[in-house]
Amino acid sequence: MRIFSILFLAVTIFLFSCGKSGKRSETSDLNLSSVILLDDAEDFLPGWSEENRVIMHISSEPDNLHPTNGNSLPRLEINNYIHGFILRSNLEGEGLVAELAEKLPDVSEDGLSFMYKLKSNLTWDNGQLLSPSDVIFTAKAQKCLYTNNHAGKSYWNKIETITADSLDPLRFTIRMKEKNIQNIAFLFSFPIMQESFHDPNGILRAFDFSMLDDSTMDKGKSGILQQWATQFNDDKYGRIPEHINGIGPYKVKHWEPGQYVELVRKQKHWNPELQLMPDKIIYKVNKDENSTLLEFRNQSMDASMSLSTGTFLELASDSSVRANYHLILTNSYNYTYLAFNMRPLESGRLPLFDDHSVRKSLAGIVPVDKLIKVVYKDYSSQCKRMATNVSPLKKEFNPYVKPLPYDPLKSSQQMKNAGWKDSDMDGVLDKVSDGKKISFEAELIYLNTGSDWKDMAMLITEEFGKHGIKVYPIAADIRTFVQRARAREFDLLLGSWGANALPEDFTQLWHSSSWKNNGSNYSGFGNDLSDALIDSIRTELDQEKRIRMVHRLQEIIIDEQPAVFLYTSLRRNIVHKRFGNVKLYADRPGILLNDLRLLSVSQGKTSP
């Protein structure tokens, strides 16, 4: 009986703690700025750790830390601190800022050549100076047919050549094959590698750029290249700390598989702010929401940008957590949408959404406010409604385009006008098309990765059901989801797109060629006018002209209504108050951990 009593008590306590409600934390009002600087804590509380290390929560482990060969998000984030980049995204404003380069490049009149100059004092860990030969090596390694960076090759294949300046040892010019608005921007996500580390014998020097992606190269030469690439691709360069080499301020000290990756600050580095940075940055893996919640209650983690909404709300309602952490929602460039399959007959589906008046009328019964409420609950007012396919944070956003209002009555009338009626009184709209009677029954696919998606899919199903549209929600894991989306095996698709502050090439999402080649134009949107506009946007380097064209594209897209654009995603941030100088960005990665400064106990201010 005693055992029973203990168990009962335990269960009661557990249930009680689960159902507990408390005052919500005060979070800052969101505006549309790309950065928010939080106030430092006034006092350094006695219970706070004085260790100058940041423990960052990640929900999945990086696939590896190889400078080129990998495709996971944590890898990109961690590599930010290990490696250096010619340019970086300007998180505090717009566009790009120079990192390893002195400034943004000088562009030639034809818009194809970009002249860069490296900063003069940049050294690798062995004391060697960073030089254009490292940049040339990096580009060649990325472009080489046999290196395993398959995801990034399409960007590097646009390079025609890179030449080092014969007069200035720090200057080099990148020549691109064709004009493109991303000819500069693509550099920001690829780290520069040290030639003497990865290619000590200078194998790649014998190959010029045109040879590197030539699959018809003779066997002798390709054999040499393959041999070098086999070495370069070796897993040790992405997993064993001694073999991970970068010009960034941190190096990998330890990687405990499935547990954590530990970075330590270098003793010597060219960055003048090195001594102010945290001694260590530890990325700790925890994919379970409950234990993540406890980790923060125990103060055994310092920061996260990837909390689930539920965990964030639970932590925000806990006063002891609020005393120790900043909890704040920030805007991001990502957005959620409900896409229609506009070309059903070409993808073997019923002709439900091929008529744009039907798509427009359905846009009027999507309960966007309720969907936002479902996801963000008490914080829903901080979430911005998306009007078009461009985030309202971007300067390309067209403020004159308004989303269609929620208007069920008008929508019902529009559906009748389009020929959809419940003629057999079975509660589902129907219509005769090509002599055949079809019922308005649609498959809605959504991701099974979180309860938010499911809740939204159920709400849409319910709301559409009230208007005679039978929806069959189908949850899919991300691989199946992408495959079905690309094969156009859906009628409705609930998904999200990510974006950043940089100029966007709309080809992949909205060009009709991207429908034909099974690209990411899932809806099938596109006509001659929009395609021409997208092609022009892609190559227009004059910003004002380009923005005008993007505005026009948004008007066309909203008129065609290939999707209902729902809301901008909010990033759920938590950062320990023992750190100051906390800046939260709209763009990825949301925070720069090396910017954090441990607040001293005595001064309650940023430590020197």
Binding site: F14, N71, G152, G238, G258, K287, L294, G498, Q508
Partner: protein, 364 residues
């Protein structure tokens, strides 16, 4: 006995081949092209301007051999006997490549090379060896704990069936057995890793941050043990009911037999009757359960490993299936198959040791 063991071992490769073919076909039926998924950077899966290069896709499919047919053989009329056709096997197929290697990066499963993981680019054997120990360690701990607790409970219940102890232990263990492991694990976390109640165990992971390379073995064990307590309890609790009930029923069956009555009639104490005569004879079902422990360790438990952030096999398999990482999934199938067969062979041998009446010799 030796002959029997030898004969069983001879059947291992045939069974493994059948398992490999069946699992290979099943695996390829899962939707999702690993090459296409590999090409999309995770950061770009939802990025609105990512680019998928068709040339790169073709190259990657060729590299993984995904452009080849699953199997490639032809059935042709035999020259000698028109009724019995002959089968010609060809090498350009995915199964052959996986089994015998590609002659370049992969030596093939037949030479013990499981290949390279699509997802992490690590050799599969290296990936599995870095993960399997946590699953084995936890499985071993939990089995030992389960047997340590269940056998005495089963014995005591069998000694006095219908007693208060028998009924109450039966009820409690049945309740435990009914609790889902994810709920129980979360309950333990909320009770024992929560500053609002008791914060005596870590909430996640298997070792402290910062590495333990310079620590002595004792220090390492001391540091790691607190991390293993809650996962071990979660692994163990549900098997308590099963093992103790199995022991109880087996002993009750044995206690009804004549030789037990004889032992009692000789005046042997009840405790000795139970331990010396009944218990040994009741061991067979318990041994059967034990044979399933090691395959279970390979499979791990996805839920428990996810909740406690244990880098074990369960989580690895789940992630591999999610990433359509065929080399890892196939390796796990083969290793699990091999260990399951070995487990059953060991349990057969243990049967013979536990009960001398069992013989694997053919009777004339």
């Amino acid at each position: 006995m030796r002959k029997y063991v030898f004969r069983r071992i001879l059947f291992f490769p045939i069974s493994l081949l059948a398992l490999a073919i069946a699992s290979f076909i099943l695996l390829k039926a899962i939707p999702g092209n690993p090459a296409e998924l590999k090409l999309i950077r995770e950061a770009d899966v939802s990025r609105s301007d990512h680019q998928t290069d068709q040339v790169a896709l073709t190259m990657l499919e060729e590299k993984y051999g995904l452009n080849l047919p699953l199997f490639y053989f032809e059935v042709v009329p035999s020259e000698n006997n028109i009724w019995i056709p002959s089968v010609n096997f060809h090498v350009d197929n995915q199964f052959h490549r996986w089994f015998f290697g590609d002659g370049f990066n992969n030596a093939g499963i037949i030479r013990g090379d499981f290949g390279i993981s699509y997802a992490t680019a690590q050799p599969v054997s290296q990936l599995i060896s870095s993960r399997i120990w946590w699953s084995v360690l936890l499985a071993l701990f939990s089995v030992l704990l389960a047997y340590f607790l269940s056998i005495p409970i089963g014995l005591k219940s069998a000694a006095s069936p219908g007693s208060v102890f028998d009924k109450s232990s039966n009820t409690l263990l049945t309740i435990l057995y009914s609790i889902p492991s994810f709920w129980f694990a979360t309950l333990l976390l909320m009770l024992f890793a929560n500053p609002e109640f008791l914060s005596i165990f870590p909430a996640s992971g298997v070792k402290p941050l910062g590495g333990m390379e310079n620590d002595s073995m004792l220090d390492r064990i001391t540091a790691i043990l607190p991390y293993l307590v809650l996962p071990t309890i979660t692994y163990t609790y549900s098997s308590l009911a099963f093992i103790s009930r199995t022991v109880r029923i087996s002993i009750l069956d044995i206690l009804r037999l004549d030789f037990i009555q004889t032992a009692r009639a000789k005046g042997l104490e009840e405790d000795k009757v139970l331990r010396r005569h009944a218990f040994r004879n009741a061991l067979l079902p318990v041994i059967t359960i034990f044979s399933g422990v090691f395959p279970a360790a390979i499979g791990g438990s996805v839920i428990i490993e996810s909740i406690f952030s244990i880098p074990g096999m369960g989580l690895t398999i789940y992630q591999s299936i999610d990433a359509r990482d065929y080399p890892v999934i196939m390796a796990v199938f083969i290793i699990t198959g091999l260990i399951t067969m070995t487990g059953y062979l060991i349990s057969d041998i243990l049967y013979a040791l536990a009960d001398p009446r069992i013989s694997f010799q053919k009777e004339n």
